[in-house]
Symmetry: C2
Subunit: 351 residues, 2 copies
Amino acid sequence: MKARIVTLPGDGVGPEVLDAAVAVLEAVAERSGHSFEFEAQLIGGCAIDATGEPLPAATLEACKKADAVLLGAVGGPKWSDPQAKVRPEQGLLAIRAALGVYANLRPLQVHPALASLSPLKNEKLKHVDVLFVRELTGGAYFGAKTRTTDAATDECKYTVAEVERVTRRAFELARERRQHVTSVDKANVLETSRLWRSTVTRIAAEYPDVKLEHQLVDSMAMLLLTQPARYDVVVTENLFGDILTDEAAALAGSLGLLPSASLGEGKVGLYEPIHGSAPDIAGQGIANPLGAILSAALLLRHSLDLDVEATTIEAAVGHVLSNGPHSRDIGGKAGTAQIRDAVIAALDDVA
Amino acid sequence: MKARIVTLPGDGVGPEVLDAAVAVLEAVAERSGHSFEFEAQLIGGCAIDATGEPLPAATLEACKKADAVLLGAVGGPKWSDPQAKVRPEQGLLAIRAALGVYANLRPLQVHPALASLSPLKNEKLKHVDVLFVRELTGGAYFGAKTRTTDAATDECKYTVAEVERVTRRAFELARERRQHVTSVDKANVLETSRLWRSTVTRIAAEYPDVKLEHQLVDSMAMLLLTQPARYDVVVTENLFGDILTDEAAALAGSLGLLPSASLGEGKVGLYEPIHGSAPDIAGQGIANPLGAILSAALLLRHSLDLDVEATTIEAAVGHVLSNGPHSRDIGGKAGTAQIRDAVIAALDDVA
Ligand SMILES: CC(C)[C@H](C(=O)O)[C@@H](O)C(=O)O
Ligand SMILES: CC(C)[C@H](C(=O)O)[C@@H](O)C(=O)O
């Protein structure tokens, strides 16, 4: 097949990890006779520097025409004044909204070779296999904001339709997994959470084969630590998802290798590692590219329907995790290029 | 000294743990010649059953006249429909607001005898000694809410004055500890967080002896797991504090023994264990009363200026943790009364 992929390297280590992911995609294309065309565009801090805008119109246009978008990371100390009018993160929020990618999938598993890196005791990690489905285009992230000298407000808003579509996505995904959905809210305090809970409960009736459980966000922050293996699909609103997925990433002990896929109704998906721009190590060629490479695998699966190729990349990454080389963040010494080459070499071993 | 303490046993295990805490306070009073007068009032589900209101006027009146308020827990399956008009949690939110207790202090330490209960590896727990200062009377908990058939909203609002007072409290507390404050917000997305951050930064200048660090809430959810010993005082807004303190409680592995103190400008403080009403074990006499007993110690320290007596209770609890008996939640077999008696007996050992 032919596919057009827009890359948004962004800031910090973004360009480095994206280079590696593109190289892996090219190696896969070569091996399986596909043809991927890549087009790089600006987003975030580098876009602000070049154009004054965190999401230039040309970037958005290219993304809308593409089959999929692969993003590195945005932000860095150069643009980090939270009071500034124009900030790199605005580019990220704007592209999510413009592409309508309301469901952010963050799968979490702990590779046996990495269990020792987790702050959690090993027995807690056994069988951890969670798929977070974070609502990505609603809530306080996109609500009305006000600011005076004396006060500020953020409005968190959810419509029933917004909750329905992300809930359906979560239940569809649960059907192909262990048939269990945990919906997280703060229904004892928030009105949006009460709407969330009643909508999720109603949609769940369409999926009698899937079990639904509700948890309050504060309890869930605990349960992720005490019973992480209990969860299958976890669906929640934007801000709670932001917090809980980072907590979950930390418990896996391996932030650098976690991918994400953001999906909407259309076919254009947005794929990005969940790590940030890591300005402290940018430009040194030592960033772990596995989060970006696994995001590229999700891209193949969800936007291009290339499930076999996606699984091949995931198996190659598993092979590298089992046999090395390892990057510094997971206790090794290998640089970005070395990991990239090892994954590409492993494509043949696992095929 | 003479003091009037209103007790609000509430629901579930609330009455059981509060009985134990009151017995310890009475034992302390006897030993040190103080006289504490206790008056029990209704709150939460039991108040709804008796009066139709989660916070009856008589309760509020008694609390306002008291020197301090000791609360058990509210809520339970009987009143758990989140769509109900009247809910037990409303009583809790209403009493916090009515008493103006804007600073919720949640100290977290891991007793060596309990390190094995934590989901975290032991080396991560060494030297964990964090004091959370959660803003308790603002934010989305108390903002305007709307609900139609199609949509719902919650407004998160903070005034500069609200942020200033809780920030000052955090810095004052840090002065008596390790002179380090971590302020947690989501300033890359929320307007209230940008107001929070600029206000905290400005107030910090009044405390040149205390170091200030800002963290985003998602990063903080990670850092609590990976570097828990790094934090001294952590100050944050209401909802972030709800989530992060529960995460922190879970990492300590011992929810049943964590206390909290909610303080305002006046002298009346509200003291409560951070555990909930635990309906599954209510009425069996097996709840761990140490969270309530340690909350009583905070009451002595913060509302009655009885620091020596507070420290004596804390030492007695430490003695029981070191030597047993232990309740079921921490791997023992002792019931509530046995733990209560052991703490009271230990008051003499540690005095
Ligand atoms: C950079 C920031 C705006 C973003 C978010 O909060 O969504 C990030 O934390 C994430 O989770 O992708
Ligand atoms: C019961 C609930 C309303 C409450 C809160 O969210 O504040 C509780 O979780 C707490 O932390 O004290």
